[in-house]
Subunit: 211 residues, 2 copies
């Protein structure tokens, strides 16, 4: 159910003037009481408004949440994952930074000769190395990366809410998405930026649909 603009208007009037009679709501809207009957019935039926005899309508503050909640938060990592940038552990810090700018990404994943994930490089890892080490053209990234098993990964079946929870809990910017049966085989990435973009884009879509 999408509430109609008139139903939303009624909720707004009740919020601001509660308790308010059906006649007063109708008067405020310049409509007849009969015209509003079915709107008021739906709003009380759904529990959004409460009607008390001889007093008037109240706003209950309740919302019908589970469905939008499920739509927003129960989507899976698969729905939003991005292609990862993987570099070899022998790559120099200098070349890693070059890659970061060339691909315009916030982090890089590091692999070994078997193409398996062995570490992650954040912008902060690279900045720390660049500012304190004059030999960035000779230092391999293997010396400065965050190394497995300290890298937090996720699989594509987990929800966006779980992915965001892991990023927050560990104060990290990126989660390599790995295969279920090959926990070192990277198939994508999920980042703070990607999750923010997901929620903001969803908000813009809901706005377009409803207003």
């Amino acid at each position: 159910m999408k509430l109609t603009s008139r139903q939303l208007e009624i909720i707004k009037i009740v919020k601001e003037n509660e308790p308010i009679s059906g006649d007063s709501i109708a008067g405020t809207l310049g409509l007849s009481r009969a015209t509003l009957r079915s709107d008021l019935a739906i709003l009380t039926m759904t529990g959004l408004l409460d009607a008390r005899p001889k007093v008037g309508y109240f706003y209950t503050g309740q919302t019908i949440e589970p469905l939008l909640y499920e739509k927003l938060y129960k989507k899976t990592v698969q729905d939003i994952l991005l292609p990862p940038i993987l570099i070899h552990q022998g790559t120099t810090v200098y070349d890693a930074v070059t890659n970061l700018f060339m691909y315009d990404v916030g982090s890089l994943y590091v692999k070994d000769d078997k193409d398996e994930l062995i570490g992650v490089l954040s912008r902060k890892d690279l900045l720390r190395a660049a500012i304190s080490n004059p030999n960035t053209e000779k230092t391999p990234v293997a010396m400065i990366m965050t190394r497995m098993p300290n890298v937090i990964t996720i699989t594509k079946e987990r929800t966006i809410l779980e992915a965001g929870g892991l990023l927050l809990q560990h104060s990290i910017d990126t989660l390599p998405v790995v295969e279920n049966d090959h926990p070192k085989k990277v198939i994508g990435k999920v980042t703070k930026s990607r999750i923010m973009a997901y929620f903001i884009n969803a908000g813009h879509e809901i706005e377009k649909e409803n207003y």
Copy 2:
């Protein structure tokens, strides 16, 4: 209105088996048709389910969204802003990087002698400078920062949706929050990380309330 777990269960059954009769729903749940009468009435009244005579119930795919939407997206920047870290334009790149790590932040704001905002330093700005310039201890941040008027700012009355939209549109990580009547007076910051944390924390709260 919060849908009850039984109402959610009914929606799930209808989604998977539509069209399905009221008797079959009752049978699946092991309940009598009479017990379900009021649940089915509410679900059709709200438009979540559609009932066609002699055919059965359908899931309409509609959701009651505006209220959770308003709760999530119409909060303002004021509700989530963080304290900013401001450094003077004469600070060296090396000292700026030190500040970034000491305060564990992702960006720094740059002010002049009048404490007015004149620029922003992202991790990428600092990384670019650190990797390509051996004199980070002599270079002032004024030489490498993104400078006003190219800095995108926001005020505290704007919504979280608007803040997120600006971050996405300009591909930036941070928005200085400035005073309405002093557009160079910084009172806080809003970042991609903060917005992601906001949506993930809200998701965890809704989960706790409803499940």
